[in-house]
């Protein structure tokens, strides 16, 4: 959690306008879903990988590590989709369990592959946004897009408090471990439940203290986004527009070729 956050703050693209980065990520993501073609997915994955590593400065090794988790998970998910049922042996591969045949056909395999590639491409778009854009920039962007104030306000506070409570929970878990809180399954379960309830109590004690601190600086129940967002330059906007045209063109072309 802290890792992704930290990567975003050290990104070479950190100071680029968050509107452009979010626009790029979301439009490409939608393109991937609409096109849903393997060539397109692979191309997007390659592009986003290049942007995350060469563009943003994330070491390839770390990017590979980040991709490993969704890779295995999506492979498993695709495998589930690839398996069909049949009353008789059929397809490329089959196995009989409880009187039915689990079968894998060429078609189902093709669908599974399409799903796998599409998802990996989608994940890479999400990663591009995550590793180049700090959360506070995204919140600022939401604010500029006139999202309801109460919502952005809640999100800003939640973001800060997540790290406050996670820090607390982390220290508490260490303290429990130091007193053998993880010796055995029952002890572990007991420890986790104690941890969860203690963090809860601390959260409420802290929220009172934080509120006092806010009041002491003149808080009257409303709090606005006051930060400054990087604006896009004319050149960036031009490149972005060109990219969008290219993206739409590519989606249409791929759809048309696929019929």
């Amino acid at each position: 959690m802290t890792t992704v956050d930290r990567i975003a703050y050290t990104s070479k693209l950190k100071d680029m306008s968050p509107a452009i980065k979010a626009g790029l990520a979301v439009s490409t993501l939608l393109g991937v879903l609409v096109a849903s073609q393997n060539v397109f997915s692979v191309a997007v994955f390659a592009l986003m990988t290049a942007l995350c590593t060469a563009g943003s400065g994330l070491p390839l090794r770390q990017y590979r590590k980040m991709c490993a988790i969704p890779f295995w998970f999506l492979l498993a998910g695709a495998a589930v989709v690839a398996v069909g049922f049949s009353e008789a042996p059929a397809g490329l591969w089959h196995v009989r369990i409880f009187g039915v045949y689990l079968v894998v056909t060429l078609d189902s395999l093709r669908r599974a592959l399409e799903l796998f590639l599409r998802s990996m491409a989608g994940v890479s778009c999400l990663y591009f946004l995550c590793v180049t854009t700090p959360v506070n920039d995204l919140l600022g962007l939401l604010n500029r897009m006139h999202a309801p104030k109460l919502l952005t306000e809640l999100m800003m506070m939640i973001y800060r408090f997540i790290f406050l409570l996670a820090g607390l929970a982390g220290q508490m878990a260490v303290a429990q471990k130091a007193r053998l809180g993880n010796a055995g399954y029952r002890a572990s379960l007991r420890s986790v439940s104690m941890l969860a309830s203690s963090v809860f109590v601390c959260a409420f004690q802290k929220s009172a203290a934080i509120y006092d601190a806010m009041e002491s600086r003149g808080y009257d129940g409303n709090f606005d986004f006051t930060g400054e967002l990087s604006r896009s330059t004319g050149r960036q906007r031009l490149i972005f527009a060109a990219y969008e045209v290219l993206l739409i063109g590519a989606v249409v072309a791929v759809k048309w070729i696929a019929g």
Partner: protein
């Protein structure tokens, strides 16, 4: 059994083991890019009214009091941290995560959970790359609406039947967890049925995997939530 079949057997065992280990850790939500665009839109549209309802409910609660807003934010952060807690898992050596919605629902009501759950899911996507932006609607519908509302209903029912508090809390968290995954399985089955695999078959497939991995986890989450709730109530 010929060689080919033996090898396929082995392969299928390996694949299912992979699923068993990878699924509980990461299957909390539907990953980015998994759902076709029309289903993203449909689930988003279905979630929207609940979100608006929750938003108004929160707005009414916060009116005139900054302290309530602060408490709600703290609660949202708490749900996030709870869902990121490593939970000792019965199934394998790997650990898993609670959904955290059961506890949140009892404490803050199902309407607030629609908004808080949505924010938590968004941060999970941005900070942990769990779930995704296009699947946010579908994930929010299962975790922030379906689970909490059904769990809360069960909780109220159990209370009406004069069940002890521990039992009502357990049932709420247990049902909220299970129902979240049942809805997730439905969402997946709706997207992945076709001429070869009917909706019911697809649903059976996804439910089968979730049942294997999620029932023990739901039991653990139920116990955990009951323990936490008792501890909080005793203070």
């Amino acid at each position: 059994m010929n060689n080919w079949q033996k090898r396929s057997m082995k392969a299928s065992v390996i694949v299912s083991m992979l699923m068993l280990t990878a699924v509980p850790v990461y299957a909390m939500h539907i990953a980015e890019g998994m759902l076709p665009i029309q289903w993203c839109l449909i689930w988003g549209a279905l979630f929207l009214p609940f979100f608006v309802w929750g938003f108004w409910s929160i707005k009414k609660q916060c009116a005139g009091s900054g302290r309530v807003k602060m408490l709600l934010a703290m609660s949202g952060a708490y749900c996030f941290v709870l869902s990121a807690l490593k939970m000792p898992s019965l199934v394998t050596a790997s650990s898993s995560h609670p959904t955290g919605t059961g506890l949140g629902t009892i404490l803050f009501g199902p309407a607030s959970m629609a908004v808080l759950g949505f924010i938590v899911l968004l941060f999970q996507a941005l900070l942990l790359a769990h779930g995704g932006l296009t699947t946010l609607g579908a994930n929010a519908f299962s975790m922030a609406v379906a689970g909490p509302f059904v769990g809360y209903g069960v909780y109220l029912l159990a209370k009406k039947c004069k069940a002890p508090r521990v039992v009502s809390v357990f049932l709420c968290a247990f049902v909220a967890d299970l129902f979240t995954y049942a809805v997730t399985a439905t969402e997946l089955a709706l997207a992945f049925n076709n001429a070869e695999v009917s909706f019911m078959q697809a649903w059976g497939k996804f439910m089968g995997i979730f049942a294997m991995t999620q029932i023990p986890l739901a039991i653990v989450e139920g116990i955990l939530t009951a323990l936490v709730f008792e501890a909080i109530a005793s203070l």
